[in-house]
């Protein structure tokens, strides 16, 4: 039930538009929890969004992503820009709980007013997670954040999907990542636009940087983006300036080569399809509850094959066909 606005007390949305962080946090929860009316809210916020620059940051655990995000965010904050950070960490598959500790490393940021940090647990939802993260980013965008970081652990599919919500994506590795790079050679370019070898004061960092550079730019054609591989020591504030410059370069390059438009279109397409899929599925589940149960039973007893069962289901609801 939607609660009607009482005269005199501003609605959450009104407060949101007046830059009330409590309202922002409330709407993020609403979107994250997929509460009633969340789509209406997102629809309303859409027109306010589209201004922020989204930075995806992913990489293996312990690579120093949070510290790196902290340093980058500090830079933007010092330039009087506003920053939002979404830090995603895994939910325990056994207990459903999660321990979210990324804020600890972002205190340089959180001491200042402008950074809004939100920790999110994956909550086991594989497909929906990237969408939810993207939606949370949209809320931050609509709120007026200039830069939005999307930080995720790992280099699996889910993380990549989240990263794909960004305008530029950084893959943060450490010198010891050399071996795993070899194993995932081909996929690297799909993951990120800029590669960072953090903790570069450790042994083997030069080698890892060189190897990565080889793998990434070996087959580069003229006019294509040359994947930068940058050594950093985020903890000691080393290499951050170069990284910031490189991100600017990428932004320019992407604008000139219309990469953003392409990316955004793909994002839009993917999210539209995702929403359609979810809707149809939900509708099917609701409308065909009885039929579905019956068919599950029949397939299980091997009275019907699954392929014919699908046809039967589609036939049962004319709208789906």
């Amino acid at each position: 039930m939607t609660i009607r606005s009482r005269p005199g007390s501003p609605t959450v949305l009104e407060r949101f538009k007046k830059k009330d962080e409590v309202a922002l946090a409330r709407l993020i929860s609403l979107v994250e929890n997929r509460e009633k009316d969340y789509e209406k809210i997102l629809a309303g916020l859409f027109s306010l969004s589209g201004q922020a620059f989204r930075i995806g940051v992913t990489g293996p655990p312990g690579a120093g992503k949070s510290t790196l995000v902290d340093k980058l965010a500090s830079h933007y904050l010092n330039q009087k820009k506003s920053v939002g950070i979404v830090a995603v960490d895994p939910t325990s598959p056994f207990t459903g709980g999660a321990l979210l500790g990324d804020r600890i490393r972002m205190q340089g940021t959180s001491e200042r007013k402008a950074a809004f940090i939100r920790s999110m647990a994956t909550r086991g939802s594989q497909g929906g997670l990237a969408a939810a993260t993207g939606d949370v980013a949209l809320v931050l965008d609509a709120f007026g954040k200039d830069y939005i970081f999307l930080e995720t652990v790992g280099v699996g599919q889910v993380e990549l999907d989240i990263a794909s919500q960004a305008d530029v994506t950084l893959l943060v590795l450490v010198p010891e990542s050399g071996d795993s790079i070899q194993a995932m050679k081909a996929g690297l370019m799909e993951i990120a636009d800029i590669f960072v070898v953090n903790k570069a004061d450790r042994e083997g960092s030069r080698k890892t940087v060189a190897e990565l550079d080889m793998v990434l730019n070996f087959k580069r054609k003229k006019g294509e983006w040359r994947y930068p591989v940058l050594p950093t020591e985020a903890v000691n504030n080393v290499g951050i300036d170069v990284l910031l410059d490189t991100m600017d370069e990428y932004r320019k390059f992407a604008a000139e080569h219309h990469l953003f438009e392409k990316k955004r279109r793909e994002q839009i397409k993917a999210s539209l399809l995702g929403m359609v899929e979810r809707k149809i599925r939900n509708r099917a589940e609701a409308a065909l509850k009885v039929e579905l149960e019956t068919l599950v039973e029949k397939v299980w007893k091997r009275e019907v094959d699954p392929y014919s069962a699908v046809e039967e289901l589609l036939a049962a609801d004319g709208q789906l066909r």
């Binding site: 655990p61 312990g62 510290t67 321990l99 500790g101 600890i104 490393r105 972002m106 205190q107 340089g108 903790k199 004061d201 450790r202 042994e203 020591e233 903890v235 000691n236 504030n237």
Partner: protein
């Protein structure tokens, strides 16, 4: 030989620290590695590998030092206390600092609100330090300072006071804890990232080598690692991993192993599992002797000897049925004595709630005196040597520690493991495991989950007078008024420049404090240059 005697690597440690299930019902010669050669393997007291002690006569020659660490609000109050102690025949002082001093804030910083003078004395400037040691002959007393992240500043202040009084620096003796790695691992009073922090540590080594030959430049501490919840084997392994890192750092700035190794000292926890603790101290000496001899090729016999201070386990004290803590502390202290400690601090029974009262502190000291003079425990060297069980435990702890140490080496050493949070994770897991056992009643804590009385704690706890902070702030304001501000700015400029380079930091910091620059001002510049570190929390 039976397989059972062997510990599985890094599985929940059987027997260890009273976790999981208990030891075998009976231990025999078969549980001791190579029992026939035991005597040779263990060695004589005073001989390599020092299992039985670092001196041939141990406490028959000289009792351990009864050193009670204490903290008092202002420099003036502490000074009065020290003078009293010295008049009672004490030859060594042990200084506790408040948290702002430990974390590099002056008493007038907003971060210091509510903390000034609470866990120890507040020191901001050379004025405070002069007051603290007013009338105390620095050339005669040994001064131990429990200070880490800002150790270099406090030592510089100490040196500055001595210089002002024209005391030859070569006569100064004492200790700074200066063990920053365990702050990252367990105690939490760090400021800067690991790399510049280690630079401060070695800066002290460098300066002390040339000017402070009698100073113990570090006290490598397992105490806090254990307090944070580690097992006995983890306490040993992580402490020695830190020690190896410090030795390497010292070597890397050009020191020779036998030059500084005899000045390294250690600090361990005397915890509850009685025999395991005795075995732990015995194993510690053996491990260290091997590390120094085999890894670092030390030659001097003194380089191979592990000297350590022990303190009973604060974490074993309970708020329930307070008086039971007296018994716990006595048994823990006994284990340290049977394990051959060089000095000992016994906790007061009411420290589970607040700083000790005079009476409880005295009782803690009396506990040591009873062990020393009434029990007969110090009468013979290593009285538990040769016990099947204790020798078995000694072997096992040594083995487990080496497994950890080798693993840590493979992961790049202690500094790298601090950054990845390896130590922190291992300790947290042990702490969590322990808590679960308490919750399920597998582990019994008298008065807490068994033999419970309904004694909800009531009464006052000691609070520091807010006047302590007001006084400090007023004195600081006066100092800032009176001193040469231009000079202060110039010195801070020098400091910044040096911080950007790579050389030793001690001389420039000494120059700062001699010119009335405060501890907070020095740390503010270093914070700007090096950044502040946020701990690795991996759970």
């Amino acid at each position: 030989m039976k397989k059972a005697a062997k510990a599985k690597p890094h599985s929940p440690r059987v027997e260890s620290s009273g976790l999981t299930r208990g030891p075998k019902i009976v231990h025999t010669a078969r549980d001791v590695k190579n029992f026939k050669a035991l005597e040779k393997r263990v060695g004589k007291p005073g001989d390599f590998p020092f299992t039985r002690g670092i001196y041939p006569d141990m406490y028959r020659g000289r009792l351990w030092t009864m050193r009670q660490y204490a903290g008092y609000g202002t420099a003036k109050e502490s000074n009065e206390r020290y003078r009293y102690l010295l008049s009672q025949g004490v030859t060594g002082l042990s200084v506790a600092f408040d948290l702002p001093t430990q974390i590099g804030y002056d008493s007038d910083s907003p971060f210091a609100a509510g903390e000034v003078g609470k866990t120890g004395v507040a020191i901001c400037s050379i004025e405070d330090m002069e007051l603290l040691f007013d009338g105390i002959p620095l050339e005669k007393v040994s001064v131990s300072m429990t200070i880490n992240a800002t150790a270099i500043i406090l030592l510089a202040l100490y040196v500055a006071v001595a210089k002002k009084r024209r005391i030859p620096l070569s006569q100064l003796s004492g200790t700074v804890q200066n063990d920053i790695l365990k702050e990252f691992i367990a105690r939490g009073t760090y400021i800067f990232p690991p790399k510049p922090s280690m630079r401060l540590v070695t800066s002290i080594f460098q300066y002390a080598k040339d000017y402070l030959p009698k100073w113990n430049t570090i006290s490598i501490s397992g105490y806090h690692i254990r307090e944070a919840g580690s097992t006995a084997a983890q306490e040993l392994a992580f402490t020695f991993a830190d020690a190896i890192e410090y030795v390497r750092a010292a070597l890397s700035v050009g020191l020779k192993i036998d030059e500084f190794a005899p000045r390294l000292s250690f600090f361990f926890n005397a915890h509850q599992d009685f025999f395991e603790e005795v075995a732990k101290f015995r194993a510690a000496r053996r491990i260290w002797a091997r590390i120094m001899k085999e890894k670092f090729k030390a030659r001097k016999p003194d380089s191979l000897k592990l000297r350590f201070h022990a303190q009973t386990a604060g974490s074993s004290l309970t708020a329930q049925q307070l008086e039971v803590n007296i018994v716990r502390t006595a048994l823990e202290a006994l284990s340290a004595v049977l394990g051959g400690t060089q000095s000992l601090h016994t906790n007061a029974y009411d420290e589970a709630l607040a700083l000790p009262t005079e009476k409880s502190a005295q009782l803690a000291l009396r506990t040591q005196q009873v062990i020393a003079h009434e029990t007969g425990a110090p009468a013979t060297v290593d009285p538990l040597g040769g016990s099947y069980y204790v020798e078995h435990l000694t072997d096992r702890l040594e083995e487990e520690s080496w497994e950890y140490l080798n693993k840590i080496e493979k992961m790049g050493g202690a500094a790298a493991c601090v950054e990845t949070g390896f130590f922190q994770r291992e300790i947290q897991q042990s702490a969590y495991e322990y808590q679960k056992q308490v919750e399920t009643g597998q582990k019994i804590v008298v008065g807490v989950n068994k033999f419970v009385e309904n004694d909800r704690f009531s009464g006052k706890i000691l609070k520091v007078d807010p006047k302590v902070r007001e006084d400090q702030i007023a004195r600081l304001a006066q100092l800032r008024q009176r001193r040469n501000g231009e000079m202060v700015q110039r010195k801070l400029g020098d400091l910044r420049k040096t911080a950007q380079g790579t050389e030793g930091m001690f001389p420039v910091i000494l120059d700062c404090v001699e010119n009335n620059v405060t501890l907070g001002e020095i740390c503010a510049v270093l914070r700007e240059e090096w950044g502040e570190y946020r701990g690795a929390v991996v759970l």
